[in-house]
């Protein structure tokens, strides 16, 4: 069995599972946010469930439209707040404690290796970086899971992604995952797990791995997953609230195909509108003029991303006519950015710094684009209308490429 299949088998109480098998698995954490949880709560109440399965295993994070952007959004948050209060949920994160859910849950040790997790948010696949099975679902699945602590799954077949070498300077996890999506397409891993392995894994930081697994959904995958190694162990140490359980793929595990990636050949990569699979090397896009830069999101709003942006922006000026919006993904990251002087440097460079929010990534608020405008963003999707007007354009890139582009006003590969 693959790593994913082993975790699913264990949570279904089975010795063995095979691809295509329908199973019911116990869940370690059930997640929702201020957009998806209200729908789940409505369904939960409509079905007249009285109690949640475990008040300590349901995480509700207000992150998409908070601090609330308008009255309707405020009403959605209120539904979450009331539900969390009524059921005494210990993992409810409101303004002041919140962060973008997929940065917050690993940071707070709420998710750990060996877990089986569902979240009513497509980027829930992020936690595969820790060696967990984790996948996005809808609000009805969340409602059922809040009541029963279980979910049904079709056991996925797998694609093996064998990594070797190590990343060149000024490239990161974002360039790796964009390269893979460019190779296999937005449905290249549809219904499947992406199982990362190989000698190259050890060279990737936890922030790189979280970023890579985060965008597994952008290849259509059910989940992405990394083996547990020393990097994982040291990340989880003194952080994970439950004891990590380590699963390893069997030597004879079956994979539908194997993709080999030499990390040392990765170049700064950009996804052009309007699909994440439309990838090109950043250096080939130097004539694309931009209006806005967004550095943040569940994909690239972590500390390493902030540091990358700081190293490039400090002492420099954002190009006249470009709006540069920087959004640390959690309050802890925000605090560290303040303490290290990053926030001052960003402001001096002419950027703005927001408290954590998904905001512009999904065209919610805090950086909506007008018709004809272009943005280089470290976010995860560049669909039609994703960040605003249907005639606006989003180019997905790493924090290095985004920061370098903010300084020139054109898509720019960062070179020291």
């Amino acid at each position: 069995m693959t790593m994913t299949q082993k975790i699913l088998a264990a949570h279904a109480g089975l010795e063995k599972v095979v691809p295509g098998q329908l199973i019911e698995a116990k869940l370690d954490i059930v997640l929702g946010n201020d957009i998806t949880a209200p729908v789940a709560i409505k369904e939960f109440e409509k079905a007249s469930f009285e109690n949640v399965f475990d008040k300590d295993r349901i995480a509700i994070v207000l992150d998409h439209f908070v601090p609330n952007k308008d009255i309707k959004a405020a009403e959605q948050s209120k539904i979450c707040r009331n539900f969390a209060c009524k059921h005494c949920l210990s993992k409810f994160f409101d303004v002041g404690k919140m962060g973008i859910e997929h940065a917050l849950l690993p940071e707070q040790g709420i998710v750990t290796a060996g877990d089986c997790i569902i979240g009513a948010d497509s980027h829930t696949c992020t936690y595969g970086a820790l060696g967990a099975f984790s996948t996005g679902v809808g609000s009805t699945d969340m409602a059922a899971a809040m009541a029963t602590g279980k979910a049904w799954f079709k056991v996925p077949s797998a694609i093996k992604i064998e990594l070797c070498g190590s990343l060149p300077k000024n490239t990161g996890g974002k360039d790796v995952i964009l390269t893979i999506i460019g190779m296999i397409g937005v449905d290249g891993a549809l219904y499947k797990s992406m199982e990362f392995c190989g000698d190259g894994v050890s060279s990737l930081s936890m922030d790189d791995r979280l970023c890579i697994c985060n965008m597994a959904i952008e290849a259509g995958a059910k989940n992405g997953i990394f083996p547990v190694d020393d990097v994982t162990r040291s990340y989880l140490e003194n952080r994970a609230e439950r004891i990590p359980v380590i699963y390893e793929a069997d030597c004879d595990a079956e994979y539908e195909k194997t993709i080999e990636i030499n990390l040392s050949e990765i170049v700064p990569t950009v996804s052009c509108p309007h699909l994440p699979e439309n990838t090109k090397p950043a250096r080939d896009l130097a004539d694309i003029k931009i209006d806005q830069v967004v550095i943040g999101s569940c994909t690239n709003g972590r500390m390493e991303d902030m540091t990358a942006a700081y190293e490039i922006l400090k002492g420099k000026k954002v190009k006249e006519g470009v709006r540069c919006i920087i959004i640390p993904a959690t309050m802890q990251i925000m605090r560290e950015c303040v303490e290290k002087g990053y926030v001052t440097a960003f402001i001096d460079a002419g950027a703005i710094v927001s408290t954590p929010t998904c905001g512009p990534c999904l065209g919610g608020y805090m950086g909506i684009l007008a018709s004809g405008e272009r943005c280089v963003a470290t976010t995860n999707r560049n669909f039609v209308g994703r960040m605003g007007h249907p005639a606006s354009e989003v180019y997905l890139a790493s924090p290095q490429t985004a920061a370098a582009s903010a300084l020139t006003g054109y898509i720019t590969e960062y070179k020291e």
Binding site: F65, V137, G138, D187, L275, F383
Partner: protein
């Protein structure tokens, strides 16, 4: 169970951001969501759709965000069935969970045209294009999923099971 209606035809990779743009996700009211369904790729859709109509699309329909607001908006518009070459997995799950019939049928999705009149029989998986008199057969749902649809969605089926277990 069946649906009959006219066809709205779309491309590959229709994502949930165009099915229901996030700027409208500050509500979970199904009727409000339905009023903006597909507007970023087809501004005429909401004006022209009527009960029982059918969406036909290419590969990876419903890719992107997990928002259940997307199948909910489609269902509330009156769409009776979505036929596609393939569906993104979260959309597939969400559609079943809320009771929006969806069928994977690459041949039908390729050949059926915008404006055609089509009948879909959910029990047999038979798709009939009345405009060309051609029939197609989609794979029927496995029993496990038929049970969810029969009960009227996932939560209703869980409740039923709960009551049976006593």
């Amino acid at each position: 169970m069946q649906t009959e209606g006219k066809v709205f035809k779309y491309r590959d990779n229709v994502d949930t951001d165009v099915i229901i743009p996030a700027r409208y996700l500050n509500t979970s009211d199904a009727k409000e969501l339905a009023a903006h369904c597909m507007e970023d790729i087809d501004g005429e859709f909401v004006k022209n759709v009527s009960g029982g109509d059918i969406i036909v699309a290419g590969h990876n329909f419903g890719c992107g965000s997990s928002r259940e607001h997307a199948p909910l908006a489609i269902l509330t518009c009156g769409i009776g069935c979505v036929i596609a070459k393939s569906f993104a997995r979260i959309f597939y799950r969400n559609a079943i969970n809320i009771g929006l019939p969806i069928l994977e049928c690459p041949e039908a999705a390729e050949e059926i045209c915008e404006g055609d009149r089509v009948i879909v029989n959910f029990d047999t998986g038979e798709i009939t294009n009345l405009s060309t008199s051609k029939k197609y057969f989609a794979q029927p749902f496995p029993p496990f999923i038929q049970q969810i649809i029969k009960s009227g969605g996932l939560l209703a089926s869980l409740k039923e099971r709960d009551e049976t277990d006593g």
